[in-house]
């Protein structure tokens, strides 16, 4: 378990946890979405760093790639292509809700919204 061997994973985990922290602790709705974005992007980092091979190259078979036999694993790339798009879709829906909340409540701070609801 050498230190260098897992540096990538630990950084990915640190990024995940800071994204997670922003989502949990911040009250501002848009800040939460930014946290959510960081959280999912760092998961992609974890996936891709799994697929990397030292001395390998991008999984494209063309004239440049003859001198390599090792290619990095294409499956994580496919999965992450899907996951990025899913992340953007979730952010878009989240932002639409935030805009509607701002119009109906006049604020996007969670505790102000809760205050407005409870005051009814």
């Amino acid at each position: 378990m050498s230190w260098v061997g897992h540096y990538n994973y630990w950084v990915a985990i640190f990024l995940m946890m800071s994204g997670f922290y922003v989502v949990i602790s911040r009250g501002n709705l848009i800040k939460k979405l930014i946290g959510l974005n960081v959280f999912s992007t760092s998961v992609f980092l974890l996936y891709i760093s799994m697929g990397k091979i030292f001395g390998g190259t991008a999984p494209i078979i063309n004239e440049h790639s003859q001198k390599f036999q090792l290619f990095s694993n294409p499956i994580p790339h496919v999965l992450i292509l899907t996951a990025i798009v899913v992340g953007v879709a979730t952010t878009a829906v989240g932002l639409a809700l935030t805009v509607r909340i701002n119009e109906r409540y006049g604020t996007i701070e969670e505790d102000e919204i809760r205050a407005k609801d409870d005051s009814l």
Partner: protein, 494 residues
Amino acid sequence: MSHLPILQVIIPLLAAPLCIVFNNRRIAWFVALCATWASFGVSLLIAQQVLQSGALSYDIGGWPAPWGIDYYVDSLNAFVLLIVTGISALALPYANRSVEQEIDPRSQPYFYSLLLVCLAGLLGISITGDAFNMYVFLELSSLSSYALIGMGPRRRALTAAYQYLVMGTIGATFILIGIGLLYSLTGSLNIQDISYQLHANNIIGSGNRTLLTAFAFITVGLSLKLALFPLHLWLPNAYTYAPSVITIFLASTATKVAIYMLLRFCYCVVGSESIFQLTLGQIVLLPSLAAIIVSSVVAIFQYDIKRMLAYSSIAQIGYITLGLSMSNHSGLSAAILHMFNHALMKGLLFMTMGAVSYSVGSVYLTDFRGLGRRMPFTMGAFIVGGLSLMGIPMTAGFVSKWMLVQAAIELGWWDVVILILIGSLLAVIYIWRVVETAYFNPLLELEEEEIGEAPLSLLIPMWLMVIANIYFGINSAIPVEFAQQAATLLLGGM
């Protein structure tokens, strides 16, 4: 060459864009109706085939299992498919009048399209044999359900949808991490193949730490999705403020599919005989008992009846996970059967709520005063739903409660038996609160006279559910058959 499994998902998936082509409310509803009924027919055919000739398998794109994505239908997910398509087939005719009153006319075609996408997502999850494909369709169904809840009539629907989005996405990302770690251990994404790899190079026995963490994350992610007790905070708001049709649809199906995923990952991937499995049983036992008792007690003090029923859903999910945590044959079949019965009960109860909010406008306890006389059919349906929730004989609820208690006695867990019965007694209290106000409190004179019975298009699906509730109370041969076959399958390991 049976294309049934793929047709099951493709019909709603491709009908969804069709809804918004014409941007006309009526056509969108009609397309959605045909799509749901067609997918219900397909799921009936699949169930029939599975009962006769065992599991179906379908390789998408022609590539065999670990390389391509394959659909694998055994008696467990054939049963879940039946539940999801059955409920949607009943919810759609209900939706016509109820959506007209609650959703802005211009966004109704999009509403129906999103509903179909959510249905396709749920079906996709229950039928696929590939882990990442399950994640994609999980994301598909949750994304559309965030938007659907957000379209609710009251402004609090937006905050409820937002809260559900944040917690749902965190749950989904946890599942993604779990699948990633599983992938890094086995190199494949197909569930059966993962299980084979894990057993082949005995990763399971050696107490591999990554496997443990992968499972921890998948279980936490899924319990966020199925609102297991400590992680259920999003559910009451989401179900209360969503449009009535969505509450009916989600309450009966979304949590069931999440439970199916939990069953699939726990039992098929790891296999039941490993010691690992027992610890999972213990982990799930405590929250489900807490769910049964605490959320039933909270449900008693609720002022808004839809919120009360939402809390009672959390309690009922507690029953299902309780059956799951027993990890013996009768406990598991009781859990699977209760998935079906709970879908019937909750679908019926939320349909009555939809009818009341259609004719009265809102579902506070005070609105129910004197409804017994004004809306006899709706309140009659509510009583049958309530009886089924309490577990009175002749109703579907009784059968699953009977099996659950029997399984608990088989294991000699007497404290669990007592808790189950206390749970159903608490259910008696919060159901009877509503019945009492509906029938025995005189209607206030000054309330306007025009509160009439709900329109026929709401009543027919409601009373179909009543008949289903009673029919499956009298002879539940088919669901019990499915549940027991599925339980033997799960315990025998894929």
